[in-house]
């Protein structure tokens, strides 16, 4: 069964910051699209902040099974009405994968109800992403530990609801830990937050990271029709004889 994926990217750093351009010349979204496309089950599109409606027109959203979200410097520019539409579709069953600094996106904050704050430090220190749930579908075929030579540190406490599933935990050389792979179930929607991916390091070129994101697309994809739970679920039912 085909899974329709839309990779959303803020796509600003890649147009102005030489260090980022060197790593992602066509943008983070194109790198992600490229590795996802290798899986024939996936039908992959991209969308970016500066497109009309941020590329998330009703047509695009209505035909998206899984939305991947990378944002960082321009969270505030994302329109509230589009945030609400995205969240509404998640509640109805669309999967969401939030990457790295997307923790502070309006979409992630709105769908979790939390502020999603954390500690951070960007000195390019070593990071190890440990798999703590070896039989989870998102971890299928993934080594028990992925070592990233350079990554931004994200540290606890992470201001989120208790995750429903904790798949990965990260270690940072500077002394911090982080719940780096978390699944949240919100109504019919599955949300996966995954920490790795600072824009100046080639994280999304790493095969292990690619495998995790690819697995996650399958995991958060809807298993039933996506519905509008705002309309359809508030139902007065008649009394029947039981």
């Amino acid at each position: 069964m085909t899974i329709n994926i839309t990779v959303w990217n803020e796509f600003r750093h890649e147009q102005t910051n030489e260090a980022v351009i060197a790593v992602y010349p066509a943008g983070i979204h194109q790198t992600i699209k490229a590795f996802l496309k290798k899986d024939e089950q996936f039908n992959v599109r991209t969308a970016t902040l500066d497109q009309p409606d941020h590329g998330l027109t009703p047509d695009v959203l209505d035909s998206t099974d899984v939305l991947i979200w990378w944002g960082h410097a321009a969270h505030a520019e994302v329109r509230d009405d589009i945030v609400e539409k995205v969240c509404q579709r998640i509640r109805g069953g669309m999967g969401l994968i939030v990457l790295h600094s997307g923790h502070f996106s309006k979409v992630f904050k709105r769908i979790t109800g939390a502020n999603c704050g954390l500690k951070w430090r960007d000195v390019g220190e070593k990071c190890r992403v440990w798999n703590v749930k070896p039989n989870h579908p998102i971890a299928a075929g993934v080594d028990e530990c992925i070592e990233l030579e350079h990554e931004e540190m994200y540290g606890e406490p992470f201001g989120i609801p208790d995750p429903d599933e904790l798949v990965f935990m990260s270690w940072f050389k500077g002394g911090e830990v982080f719940r780096s792979g978390c699944v949240f179930n919100v109504e019919r929607g599955k949300v996966f937050y995954f920490q790795p991916g600072h824009e100046t390091y080639p994280i999304y070129h790493h095969e292990g990271i690619q495998k995790i994101i690819s697995n996650a697309c399958k995991y958060v994809a809807p298993t039933a029709e996506i519905i509008d739970t705002n309309v359809g679920n508030w139902i007065k039912v008649p009394l029947e004889e039981v």
Copy 2:
């Protein structure tokens, strides 16, 4: 240690609907305040929709450890800025208890990220509230089953995130079940949703129901200082030698 409780009530039905006035002549909030006051650990105030700032001025919120919320017909009239302030305090550690039709309040929807829809039918059918977690603090001293002769039916699917703790499940004579006592952890805050309490039945006069709400106040009360996680938790930390 004193727990400062604010009982918030929409307080509209009790001014216009004879059936409700008969059960709660001074308002649902006053009935709840009255039974809570019997516990010397509690310092109890009330607030209502039609007070300035809905009775939830910064002073009141800043000195509230646990907020109880009953609303039904006028959810839309609650000001968004106050909803946001309430949610911000919950994220920082204030406890929230949402009663009955409060499932559809802006506060509950915002703090859970969900639409919180459900099935309903008001024919005054029999309801049994089963305790499925006998050692939970909210269930301390509570019978394994509370029978309510007449209650509005609330039925699954309930459009919420997966609860972190499921303490009660309700049975309705007409054939439905409901996750009727749910704990959600959002950052530092604890949220308890409890289904019983339709305004035309004397639910909050029931000693078992009172015991549960009283227990819940102690359970969701903060165990540490309430902070503003929006400001304080997004911290850049320096690298130290470890």
Copy 3:
């Protein structure tokens, strides 16, 4: 990818009790095997209590991805060494589906660590199995409510660990509720307990019930190699330079 399923049945009632023989002339295991075989992804075998090693020889266990367990009157006759082998394989990744009165099997009690007691009453009352997690893979293609005209009542409190996922809740006409579809993660293994299936009623002939069990086989199947976690996971690791 083929999933190797072994359907284990106590297979005693079906040899002595006319009411059961009328419903399951070849045994419950054969009925379950028959509907599972319709899915080409499944390779299905059966095993029963009175076979040598209860049909669960090392060869069988070593080639089983998902074990389905139905037992009732002869739990005590199941050999402890085989129980331990089964649990050891579950811990390493084999899926387990426990049906109905299997709640009191040695395997379920050992793998959950609990006594797994419950309330019961067999008067053939009406039962409704409500889906409370509409986007869960086990619920894919399943109606929001399955009505069973006659079923044994199983009621709360159910003496289990907190389930990691609650997929179904049952309503019984006599006034009880039950957490009837529960997922437990134990190390690498997934365990699904599903309540319906008293031997004198044609529960496993019901298409909705069949769909759930079939879905569950796919859900609890291992996503990685099944290992012996007793041997392989207690590992002294050397210090490396990080």
Copy 4:
């Protein structure tokens, strides 16, 4: 309300190993008893492996609200019948706190159903215990990070069921992470596993560690009468008119 605590210790290292005697001359159990006794709510006893019935006679168990368990080299010598009695009481509501190498005790393995394996390395490296649930009662009054200059490394994957609550995560200088403070609910019992405490380091002399163990005693203490769930919960109930 008084909480009756029994501190169980294997008490072998402290009689033969000079390095351990230097840190815990009277035994780990006496150090733990000493700091717990400062809280007037606690009534504290000790028990050790080489006492008759390992010090866990029926009288002792019947009057214990919270059992603390430290063991390491002699897990195999603990009698199976006593393990079963301990687990039976946990299922009925007694709290259990398992410290450090107690992860491999028969009691912890039996009550969780798992093998509880992990990675380890004892080079005395630095360990940081991070609080990831700042509003949890076990973390009340505890700093967000406790730094232990020297500790044995325990690393993921930790072969346990999914914890119901994750309160602490540990960082080790050598590159590993660990779910170091985990709550498991088994029937009516609460179990808290806490990693710090290798016998050659003065971990239990650390005030922060003491605070956590003291908090945990209050958290896992029963909130209702402790019952025998093996006898009392398997109940046939008559049909009543509802």
